[in-house]
Amino acid sequence: MIAIVDYGAGNIFSVKNALDYLELESILTSDAKEIENADAVILPGVGAFPSAMNKLSESGLTDVVKREAKNKPFLGICLGMQMLFDKSYEFEECDGLGLISGSVEKMEKPGLIIPHMGWNKLEYGVNCPILHGIGDDAYVYFVHSYAAVTDEKYLAAWVDYAGRVPAMVYDGSTVYGAQFHPEKSGDIGLKILRNFGGLIK
């Protein structure tokens, strides 16, 4: 059973639809017990960083999310990936979950079209179980204006958008983060979600 954390900031139904399509059992939940009992956890999210962190905290889920991320396969998607880091500078400096060291900063370069919106090609970094078998020429769907700044040792995949943009981060243990939307990335995205489901023992 995969718990999809429902804290009021995300396109949770798309993630649920994709898992249903893959016949991976999942539940939308804002209940700490259900998150504890799940075999794996997905933290989705769209919108602004501070408001998402606030909503997570108001739902009383910050602690359980931090704890369970270390206990079982845990995947943050889009803003949910950005929330894995120590802090963000979206609107104001704001603490994240601190599960992977790094920060989230505005993507800025003269003339660069923002948001980074569309399909970009994955380039691979450190070995990451949920990217196994994804192969070359793998395009996935992005839409974001802020990006993670983190150490290469956490960088499982990146894309080129006026420089390296972290696409998939991995702590080497249980914590995964996808800046792109696997649930909106066609067959490649579905394969990544299937791999994630396959981590469940």
């Binding site: 399909w119 020429d137 958008y161």
Partner: protein, 253 residues
Amino acid sequence: MLAKRIIPCLDVRDGKVVKGVKFEGVRDVGDPVELAEIYNRQGADEIVFYDITASYEKRGVMLDVVRETAKRVFVPLTVGGGIKTVEDIRDTLRAGADKVSVNSQAVKNPSLIKEGADIFGSQCICVGIDAKKIADNKWTVYINGGRVDMQIDLIDWVKRIEQLGAGEICLNSIDADGTKEGFDLPMLKSVCNAVNIPVIASGGAGKIKDFSEVFEKTGATAALAASLFHFGELTVGEVKEHCRSNGIAMRVK
């Protein structure tokens, strides 16, 4: 490298697919969910449903279409047409759309762009624009399906909507729409120079070369077409293969 996007658009009335030629002469064709699946298989990078349902009461039918499609098609879905309020945006996103495209209502009530972006994020607010040339390098914005000239300068308008928090612009040329003579390159160039948000080219695609040309000659990040794909004159796959062979980055499915 970010790929350029090819986006088929399905015009939907009362839950059925139709196609207007220059906004007139509608002809019923088929099931939008099935067509979205076909486009998905062809490699569509996004799918747009444009709701031309006249009566507000029947808008629920469009949401059912989105709900069903979102269970079977895992690429971004955009819904445009008839979106008037923050509640409409919320309902559409909750049904499974990733973005909404607001057009006439954004012109009548620009605060809808800001409210939508503040609540749901810029990434899901696309502003659709119908514009028509009035002089060299000068265009004005139209509403109500290209029928009413609002006498707003296009370049002023795109700058304003970027400031209000729109995440994307879908720019339709009334002059090019339905002509099949290619996208409106001067209009697209001017708009792409004026803003730093993604611009989708719409209106005028008739030949396969129109797609490579719009990417080679303008800053558009995506190209949209309806009838061309709808009547099977070209497939999304053929267009992408052509663009790729011309050195334009395209997603490999």
